[in-house]
């Protein structure tokens, strides 16, 4: 390898590192900028695991470039030190090669076990404040949020008080999606005929982006939503205003809403059918049951 190549490569790596550093400092990196306890714990696991891995990666990189330089064919040293039969097929060396990564992985294994239990998405958060349940339905191609206790529903915007644990129950009346609010909590799959759960809380007020991570058809890119954490007072006012002035979400209104449509604006409903979520779930669950037939390809603007 020529000296000029090495210089050029070093410049490239440094420039890349500098650009990345500047970018990370200026941009909002959602996963690394958590706004709730769940996302914070998940971020910490990512950071811990990365640093543990670095214990292997740094020596590997050092040895790689050190050996590559020191034992390159055109270096005078390589001629002297060349030991063609050195294969280090000794028990001790092999034990070390296995042991070093194994110890790190053992530590990571313990973390995996503990964190899987501590951060089980189904596990309700511990808090003095009463948890708010919110039902979520993935539709083609929008999110429907149903507030069973408050008796309202909304599309593509979910609002809840900051500091209050939220317990999401999720199902779909559409192909599979995932429900993800990177600043608040990781994903859980959303499937028709099944209900999954996700617990999270926001520790501060603000608007957080929500996404779907699983391709669900033509309008999939529009499966984005806003999660809005507000103070309790604002939340109460929000509920009251929706109850006062929104169209009722009846069975018929739901069928209209569930018809495929893309890039839906935010919409609010007064929940007229209290058992809507259960009905959606069970249309798929009961073998042989007739489903609400919604013609494919029909586009409805809510």
């Amino acid at each position: 390898m020529r000296r000029s190549t090495i210089v050029l490569l070093s410049i490239f790596v440094l420039a890349l590192a500098a650009a990345t550093f500047l970018y990370v400092r200026s941009a909002t990196i959602a996963v690394l900028d958590p706004a709730g306890p769940v996302a914070l714990a998940e971020k910490n696991i990512i950071i811990t695991a990365t640093f543990l891995c670095a214990l292997v990666v740094v020596p590997v990189f050092f040895l790689l470039f050190f050996f590559a330089w020191k034992y390159r064919a055109d270096s005078p040293q390589a001629q002297q030190s060349h030991k063609p039969d050195w294969d280090h097929d000794s028990i001790l060396a092999e034990v070390i090669w296995w042991l070093v990564p194994a110890v790190i992985i053992a530590i990571l294994g313990v973390i995996a076990w503990n964190s899987s239990h501590a951060l089980d998405p189904y596990r309700p958060l511990e808090s003095d404040v009463a948890t708010i349940p919110i039902d979520v339905v993935a539709l083609d191609w929008k999110w429907l949020f149903i507030y069973p206790q408050q008796g309202i529903a909304s599309v593509n915007l979910v609002e809840f008080p900051a500091g209050t644990p939220v317990h999401f129950y999720l199902t779909a009346d559409a192909p599979m999606n995932t429900f993800w609010i990177p600043q608040l909590a990781g994903q859980v799959m959303v499937m028709p005929g099944m209900t999954t759960q996700l617990n999270l809380a926001a520790s501060k007020t603000g608007d957080f982006n929500g996404f779907s991570g699983n391709i669900s058809g033509k309008g999939f890119s529009g499966m984005a939503f806003t999660a809005r954490a507000v103070d309790q007072q604002t939340f109460n006012t929000w509920i009251a205003s929706i109850k006062a002035s929104s169209t009722p979400l009846t069975q018929e209104a739901y069928i209209m809403l569930a018809a495929p449509s893309e890039y839906n604006p935010v919409a609010y409903y007064d929940l007229a059918e209290p058992n809507l979520f259960g009905a959606i779930e069970s249309t798929y669950m009961n073998p042989g049951s007739a489903m609400p037939q919604v013609s494919q390809g029909m586009t409805v603007t809510p």
């Binding site: 990196i29 998940e42 390589a78 294994g109 899987s116 990781g186 994903q187 391709i215 669900s216």
Partner: protein, 659 residues
């Protein structure tokens, strides 16, 4: 059912492409095929192609054909990648880019399917065919006809998937076609059927190849080559083929069930009527995760040959290497659930699969140490195979870290199906698998053709690939952290993602330039072949393949070698071992066109099944069966080679070594 449906199934004029870009794709395929046909006809080479290549049962020639098809598929999959990068760099805010969302979804589905099944698998089987028989001191594979059939089935699958560019559409459900999106209710066109049948046919070829090379390595090693003398590439291939044998039947069944869902009104995986979509997801990953190791193990094998040769040293820790291969083989079957930690399976299940996933990093890490200590006190020549290795270690280690991080289930909740994941698996597949195969191709090319590949263009290709890869996938890691999920054809401008997507696009262009360098490399290689001609041992090799002439004769070894040590040829060169050449009579398989005929029928069967042309399915099945039977009852399938005659010829065939 009217007569039109009876004859043409679901085919009609409306299946032709719908927009300009799709037409461009279709016309490119048609023009490409016409150009090849035209050139071959003009040169009058059909007879030669048929006699010397299409009907050949010589694994080296089959290997070359595999790699040619794989590289053509790389062009297809790469064009898809460029279109995706163009779309994501431009489709932001009020702009919706150059593709419709449906077309974009077809493109990423095709990109993944083609790159895995028809680039990576094809390239892998190509290299295996080229070198495994030579490396284990065998004249042929265990089942020569089956080998030819495997290739032609692979070719039929590749042809079928590209038919979707002209007739009809392709699946929009991603490269693994999760139901219920891939079910008839949400994907009513024939796109998913194209996906099912091209994978089914290509997968059948892979399964047969797996059986073949497993048997070859187990049964056909030359005298003296006991297990602990088996060259490392052959070890990794044995591991990989074991995985093929266990994993591919799962794929076959899963695809068949999905097709029954779509065609016969079954409900294995539908959302309604008792179907279970997560059963599909489990099944497809029970194949899909081993598949990753099927591809990567032979790449590890390539590096385990390249590093010792270019360091002029024995492989350090051979025993560790063997054990790590088998640790990976076993573990790769108990990690599949990490592809869907987000399913909500519960903490115990997630923790188990998370730990297993982390554990599989141990044998992989061991391998990296083995290669590094092979370099220690070596005399390292940085020719292009070694450069690919250097690039591989850097990128693969970083990609591996990303993998270990995602093995922690709660971390995966945040990274699942984000662009971070996309960047992770591209790091493993491109810098692991593809860099390894490029190194292997450069390394073994002279053994097959008798001349080296052009080194200057090879090095240029390496740098463009490396820099391009970093620029294309570095931003995707960051975008994943910013919440960008995979497969988005459009995003809001307020997210601020566009600059990174543009950088990724620049990276993709650099990779395209890297690939162009490789095309230039091939042109220069064949143009200057006289100048680049080499002897039997151009790299100062260590294993048996370097002991025979370059290009290797069709029968590989005039006299079967007897192995006394691990690096037999190296020991011979250094006087530690000698070969007593004993020429015996043997027989070799005759060329046969049966595999071409069988696979043509299978292609028609696939096409019929895609378009529901049932008479064609039945006729093609009948044709394929008859063609197989005719071949099976053909007794005249071998010819005798005289040992005495070969002994005479060998004396004149010896080339001086170049080193």
């Amino acid at each position: 059912m009217n007569w039109q449906t009876l004859i043409f199934g679901n085919l009609s004029w409306s299946v032709l492409p719908e927009n300009a870009i799709a037409w461009f794709g279709a016309l490119t395929v048609i023009a490409g095929v016409l150009a090849v046909v035209g050139v071959v006809t003009y040169l009058g080479r059909w007879q030669w192609l048929w006699d010397e290549w299409f009907t050949s049962l010589d694994p080296k020639k089959i290997g070359v054909m595999y790699i040619v098809v794989a590289l053509v598929m790389l062009v297809r999959g790469g064009s898809d990648a460029l279109l995706m990068r163009a779309q994501q760099a431009t489709s932001v805010g009020d702009s919706y880019g150059i593709l419709t969302s449906t077309h974009f979804q077809e493109i990423f589905s095709a990109h993944g399917s083609i790159m895995i099944f028809f680039l990576a698998m094809g390239f892998m089987f190509g290299l295996i065919n080229l070198i495994v028989p030579l490396q284990i001191g065998s004249r042929d594979v265990a089942f020569p006809f089956l080998n030819s059939l495997s290739f032609w089935l692979f070719f039929a699958g590749a042809a079928l998937i590209n038919c979707s560019l002209i007739f009809g559409d392709f699946s929009t459900a991603g490269w693994l076609a999760y139901p219920p999106l891939s079910e008839l209710r949400y994907s009513p066109t024939s796109g998913v059927d194209y996906w099912i049948w091209s994978l089914q046919i290509g997968g059948l070829g892979s399964l047969l190849s797996g059986v073949n090379f497993f048997a070859t390595i187990v049964k056909m090693r030359t005298k003296g080559m006991n297990w602990m003398r088996l060259p490392m590439f052959s070890w990794t291939v044995l591991g990989s083929m074991t995985l093929v044998i266990f994993a591919f039947p799962i794929l076959t069944v899963t695809l068949a069930l999905l097709y029954l869902d779509r065609t016969a009104g079954m409900h294995f995986f539908t959302a309604e009527l008792g179907g279970n979509m997560m059963m599909y997801v489990n099944l497809i990953w029970a194949w899909g995760h081993p598949e990753v190791y099927i591809l990567i193990l032979p790449a590890f094998g390539v590096f385990s040959e390249v590093v010792p040769v270019f360091s002029g040293k024995k492989l350090a820790g051979y025993t560790s290497m063997v054990f790590s291969v088998w640790a990976i083989v076993v573990l790769s079957f108990i990690v599949w659930l990490h592809h869907f930690f987000t399913m909500g399976a519960g903490a115990d299940v997630n923790a188990f699969f998370g730990i297993m996933t982390a554990v599989i990093a141990v044998p992989t890490g061991v391998k990296i140490f083995n290669w590094l200590f092979t370099m220690y006190r070596g005399r390292i020549r940085f020719e292009s195979p070694m450069l690919w290795f250097m690039g591989f270690v850097v990128l693969f280690t970083l990609g591996g870290v990303a993998g270990v991080v995602m093995a922690e289930p709660p971390a995966d909740y945040q990274l699942h199906n984000s662009l971070f994941l996309v960047a992770h698996f591209h790091t493993m597949i491109v810098s692991g698998v593809l860099f390894g195969y490029f190194a292997g191709l450069t390394f073994w090319f002279p053994k097959i053709f008798g001349f080296k590949m052009n080194e200057k263009w090879g090095i240029r290709a390496f740098w463009f690939w490396l820099i391009g890869f970093i620029l294309a996938f570095g931003p995707l890691y960051l975008l994943g952290f910013e919440g960008a999920t995979r497969r988005l054809d459009h995003y809001s401008s307020s997210l601020g993602w566009q600059p990174l997507f543009i950088v990724a696009g620049i990276g993709a262009i650099s990779i395209a330039i890297g690939f162009s360098c490789q095309v230039a490399q091939l042109v220069a290689t064949f143009r200057d072949y006289k100048r680049n001609r080499v002897g039997n041992d151009p790299w100062d090799g260590r294993t048996l393949e370097w002991s025979v002439a370059s290009p290797a004769p069709s029968y590989n070894f005039a006299a079967l070698p007897i192995v006394h040590s691990r690096d037999e040829f190296w020991e011979e060169k250094h006087g530690a071992s000698t070969q007593e050449q004993k020429f015996e009579d043997f027989s070799m398989p005759k060329n046969t066109g049966a595999a071409v005929i069988v696979s043509s029928f299978v292609f028609l069967l696939g096409f019929g099944a895609v378009w529901h042309i049932w008479w064609l399915v039945i006729a093609a099945l009948l044709g394929a069966t008859i063609a197989v039977l005719v071949h099976v009852f053909n007794e005249d399938s071998e010819y005798a080679v005289s040992g005495a005659q070969l002994a005479h010829r060998e004396a004149g065939l010896q080339y001086p070594t170049s080193l």
